[in-house]
Amino acid sequence: MLLFNQLETYLYLAIVLFAIGLYGVLARRSLIALLISVELILNAASINFMAFNRFLAPHPAVGQIITLFIMAVAAAEAAIALSIIVALYRKLKTINIEQATELRG
């Protein structure tokens, strides 16, 4: 039970999550997958906020509020990203990032 009462646990969890997200962003080629990975990064941040708030913060609610905000923002981001992806699909007939390589140099 101790494990769950330590700040470090959550921090490491967050770091792992962040790393996974980052890896996904760099490794996956499908735009959808990229989007998911970005969400993971955001969630890692949220976990941090929650954890810090739970273990350290004087004010009980700040972290949670922030997390709520992050979720909202992430939702908006997802919407925008998806819309752009759709636009991209309309024009390039693909959602594979490898295909979008017009601009260079």
């Binding site: 990064i41 955001l42 941040a45 981001e77 752009i84 979008a100």
Partner: protein, 471 residues
Amino acid sequence: MNVLLFGPELYFLGAALIFFSLTLKRKVQVKADYRIALALAAGGVAVSVLCLFQQGELFFKAYKVDLFSQIFKFALALGFFLVITISHNLAQIEERYHAEFYLFLTTTTIGMMMLVSAVELLTIYVALELSSYSLYILVPLRRGDGIDVEAGIKYLFIGAVSSGFMLFGLSYIFGATHSTYLTEIMPKMAQLVQSPIGVLGLLFSLAGFFFKLSVFPFHFWAPDVYQGAANQVTTFIATASKAAAVAVLLRLVALGSSYGYNFTQVLVMLSIISMTLGNLVAIVQKDFKRMLAYSSIAHAGVFLMGVLTIKEAGYIGAVYYALAYLVMNFTVFMVLSEVAKDGRDLKIVELAGLWKRSPILGLSLILGIFALAGVPPSIGFTGKLLIFTSAMNQGYFWLVLIGAVNGTISLYYYLRVVYAAFFMDPGDLPPVTVSFPTRLLNYALVAIIIGFGVFPDQIVRLAQAAVKTVL
């Protein structure tokens, strides 16, 4: 609470609502929309001037209204207005989307306005995202063969990743200081930079702002977006959003009186690399907007130079230069969008013989370009010199030296533009007709560029007063 404190933001919110209602109506009236937008933008400038000297705090101290923020709000309103003025030929955006264009332009302006006076981490984050997301949408609005969406998608993901970094960093800062209020974080900064968490937090959270300012290594979006987006959008990104980014960066960095040697070294390195990389790569560009993108990367380095002094002089320089940059960069973009009536991407060679096709535009172009290159008599020269001066005062000898040398390098590609505009034979390129208002605008810009370059005192005083409220 005094409504004027929140005046500009409220005004633009209202404007956003109006534009939103415009988007709803069935039939497309481009001209009407444009007139409304112009009127609203002018009103925005007026309001921001009106609220220039407001002072106070809002929303439980999460939102600070002071001269500094108000000046930048004015700058943003001005930038918005200027962009609207050149939006009379939105050739690259389908008519039925014009209202959306105005709408998102307004929302991003609101986001930036909130950004410049936000003093609480969450507020900053939200404001930043608000401004960014609207731009994400504006970029692919352009009709085109895919480079627009490509630019949009790149912009979005680079932005998302850097804001992810920022958020992660902010969480660490929150953890290390148990607070989200800058005023409470400020005192703890000293030991913050001692703890690894603090350092990483600071570094990561700077990522988001560097992204906005397109500082190396967060600059990758700039060339693609500049080239991919419609000229007006690019103009807005290149002028107003730069100003906002500088403002928030100033506010944020001003927190710590000292970040320790290493951290400052990092900033110095980033500044140097941004300048050098931007200038060197700009040399080989063919596309005008893309070249300007790289020049903006270089300028980001200059701004950073002003920021990292963390001294009044440097901040004055940065503020002055931010305003100057807004004006001179806009001048160039204005010429660009006037020459490229159909909103195409302009190759540098397409400026050929501009002096003959439209002398007044030629004049503005050469002045804007020389101002960007930091050639007197121009605001660009004065601003740059002020920044260099303050950096030297802090003893950054090599930084200044490299900056000065970079000035020489940059001159090379700026002169290529002058070469095209003043020497190359126009060939069969059509003459450029300039409407009377635009002509007036040109004269005004020329007057500002030279006038405030030679007589900088007023601006400097204003900037000084503003900076006092931040530091």
